[in-house]
């Protein structure tokens, strides 16, 4: 299981096996109903490329905030 914390909103547990073969962080983001283009994915507080295979069990997802 991977714990996905959408910062300021909700925390969900996602089973990577439900996301197909070799799921990526982009797949994980889609599983919590966001587009990879509207969030940053942090592992150990460091941003990671969304096409990287999921290799952590706790992930923070930062939503983009509109406005200047």
């Amino acid at each position: 299981m991977v714990t996905v914390e959408v910062v300021g909103e909700e925390t969900r547990e996602i089973d990577p096996e439900t996301l197909g073969t070799d799921p990526t962080y982009a797949d994980l983001v889609r599983a919590v109903d966001y587009s990879p283009h509207e969030v940053s994915v942090l592992v150990d507080d460091q941003p990671v490329p969304e096409d990287r295979a999921v290799d952590a069990d706790y992930v923070r997802v930062l939503r983009l905030i509109k406005g200047g």
């Binding site: 509207e38 096409d51 983009l64 509109k66």
Partner: protein, 336 residues
């Protein structure tokens, strides 16, 4: 995953270019795209000199976009005697939200030792957006009032500070959304205005009426208004946010409590979906839109654009007897 430039750990993947980049190469890439846009748009004219410098007013809200713009412009031009930067923050009267972002603006401008000015809707118009959002006398979204008030003050203070240009932090997503909204509304004349107001390059002394290095130039500047430009408009919103995070800039990241641009939100979702399936679609939308908007500007504005006069109440430049800002202020005051 490794950086395609140096082999260090990558922090991002740009699907539209296929590149993975480490923090250092990613930040350099954002800076170089911004500086290239400043050059291609010819923001700094050949005749700017230490004796007669350009003044650029930056609209600094304290959000990620304007903070990143301010930082990069400062890093680029702080030592250049041909450019003077002034940051302007507008407090709309939104309890909590703008107070926090003002503090981000102060942190940044103190840190950069940059001239910073603050104006408020309360002092300028005797109103606060928190009240306008509740009273809503024109039955509009709060952003529709706020945008008119903000543009009025940006123009007013750009003129007051004798600014040559007004620079805002609009990013690639903002501009691609606006382009699609103009398409979907079928508003070609608005495309022409958009082009001359902020998209076209500034003509240089040697350019004549032609394009500048392939970048179309403005047909007519936007009347007596201080011309605007958007140096971050080649950088996707997500990358602006990542830059702010990696550079640990004091950007304020809370959503405006009155944010309500429903139509723009629909377009934003559409673009997210399209970009997922067709990486690079935002860039290609803007490339085509800029060419079309340039043609529209030549068709609609070759005569110099609309006739401007002065608002009979506040003296602001307008095509009406009473400017839109004064009409809205009156509607709000009457509803009190």
């Amino acid at each position: 995953m490794d950086c395609d430039k140096c082999g260090d750990e990558a922090v991002m993947h740009a699907a539209y270019s296929g590149l993975h980049m480490c923090a250092d190469h990613f930040c350099r890439s954002v800076e170089s795209r911004t500086r290239r846009r400043v050059r291609e748009d010819n923001l700094l004219p050949d005749d700017a000199s230490p004796d007669d410098p350009e003044t650029w007013l930056i609209g600094l809200s304290g959000g990620k976009d304007s903070v990143v713009l301010t930082q990069i412009l400062h890093d680029t031009f702080a030592e250049d005697p041909r450019v003077e930067l002034v940051a302007l923050t507008i407090h709309e009267g939104i309890e909590g939200y703008r107070d926090e972002s003002l503090s981000a603006c102060l942190d940044l401008t103190d840190d950069l030792d940059l001239r910073h000015e603050l104006v408020t809707y309360e002092e300028e118009f005797d109103l606060r957006m928190d009240d306008v959002a509740v009273e809503d006398p024109m039955d509009m979204a709060p952003c529709a009032y706020c945008g008119v008030f903000r543009r009025d003050l940006l123009s007013k203070y750009a003129a007051e500070y004798d600014a040559d240009k007004l620079l805002t932090g609009h990013n690639l997503d903002d501009e691609a959304q606006t382009a699609l909204m103009n398409f979907f509304e079928g508003d070609v004349e608005q495309m022409a205005k958009h082009f001359d107001a902020s998209l076209g390059a500034f003509p240089g002394a040697a350019d004549g009426d032609g394009d500048r290095d392939g970048t179309p130039t403005r047909v007519s500047t936007d009347g007596p208004f201080v011309p605007r430009a958007k140096p971050l408009r080649d950088v996707p919103e997500k990358e602006v946010a990542l830059y702010a995070q990696l550079k640990d800039l004091p950007a304020h990241i809370t959503e405006c409590p009155h944010a309500s641009e429903a139509y723009r939100g629909e377009i934003q979702q559409l673009l997210f979906d399209m970009e997922e399936r067709h990486p690079g679609v935002r860039h290609s939308i803007m490339a085509g839109y800029e060419d079309l908007a340039a043609m529209a500007a030549r068709a609609y504005r070759d005569g110099g654009g609309p006739e401007y006069g002065e608002c009979e109440r506040c003296g602001a430049t307008t095509t009406r007897a009473v400017c839109r800002k004064c009409s809205l202020v009156e509607a709000v005051q009457t509803a009190d």
